[in-house]
Symmetry: C2
Subunit: 176 residues, 2 copies
């Protein structure tokens, strides 16, 4: 492969690594402020997967003779991806948290679909396989968060307005 494509592949892998590091930070806070046992379990489960993803991406960088970005560079990298200030600006209700988490999981889906395309062009089958391993997990996380949006709303209404929900969590499917 050309050295330009190789450089771009490493750049996408570095971005993916920064994204996973930030995801770990967001999910750790999400577990604390989930507002509901079921929501906390959901975030905790995906936090474990996210730690695996971070290791896979780091390993891939090392296999290519690169070292992942240092922590010092991480903030800038994550910022460059446009969602970088998420971790600092954590939402204040279970509902807003769920909305942001859903958006972030989808951001990760897009990032791995694009990394996969670059890896294809670079003819790096190992990175393609890694993306195929990680993508279903990110899509699953997004789907489970979406199924729990109604529950998150219910908990938020209880917290902010003292409104007890009529069987919160029973009918928490997507609407449209």
């Amino acid at each position: 492969m050309s050295s330009e494509v190789q450089q771009q592949l490493v750049s996408y892998l570095n971005d993916a690594h920064a994204m996973e590091m930030q995801s770990i930070e967001v999910l750790e806070k999400a577990v604390e402020i989930a507002g509901d046992i079921q929501l906390a379990q959901l975030y905790r489960g995906h936090l474990n997967d996210t730690r695996d993803h971070e290791r896979y991406v780091k390993q891939r960088l090392e296999d290519l003779g690169e070292s992942p970005s240092t922590l010092k560079n991480l903030a800038g990298k994550a910022g460059a991806m446009g969602l970088g200030l998420l971790a600092q600006a954590m939402p204040d209700t279970p509902a807003k948290l769920a909305g942001v988490a859903f958006a972030y999981e989808n951001f990760e889906v897009a990032a791995y679909e694009m990394l996969r395309k670059v890896a294809e062009i670079a003819e790096d089958q190992d990175t393609v396989s890694m993306c195929d391993r990680i993508l279903p997990s990110e899509k699953q996380a997004a789907a489970v968060i979406e199924e729990n949006l109604d529950l998150a709303v219910q908990r938020s209404l209880e917290e902010t307005a003292g409104i007890p929900g009529p069987g919160a969590g029973e009918d928490s499917g997507a609407h449209a």
Copy 2:
């Protein structure tokens, strides 16, 4: 409905309005820096829909006797949603732009699903109907962006590394 639920409904509507105002800003910049005619058309098409959504939400607030947040309050409101700095930190390549746009559309999907739930609890059928009108458009926008992620990667590789793509846009479906 109780005044607490009513207050929460207005708060969610205000957040949705701030979100649409920010979405207009993001999409206007996205059209300029799309990096490809097809991508620019995609953003422009959804910009038109987004202007409609903003009007629907504003109208709903006015029907409830509220005025939408002033511009002065918008930054704070959008910031509170956790994706507020998106507009200032616009991505620098067609690929990163597409990734952020995809995440933002999904954020809007989650926001309207949650607004719909609050409206259901508040027994506000007009707001439920509005969400049912807007949600398919947001989901469609997210789906079309996802279909074009490969094209966005191709254009980014051309811009940043001078790598011409083998039939860019031909095989731009989702992978997993």
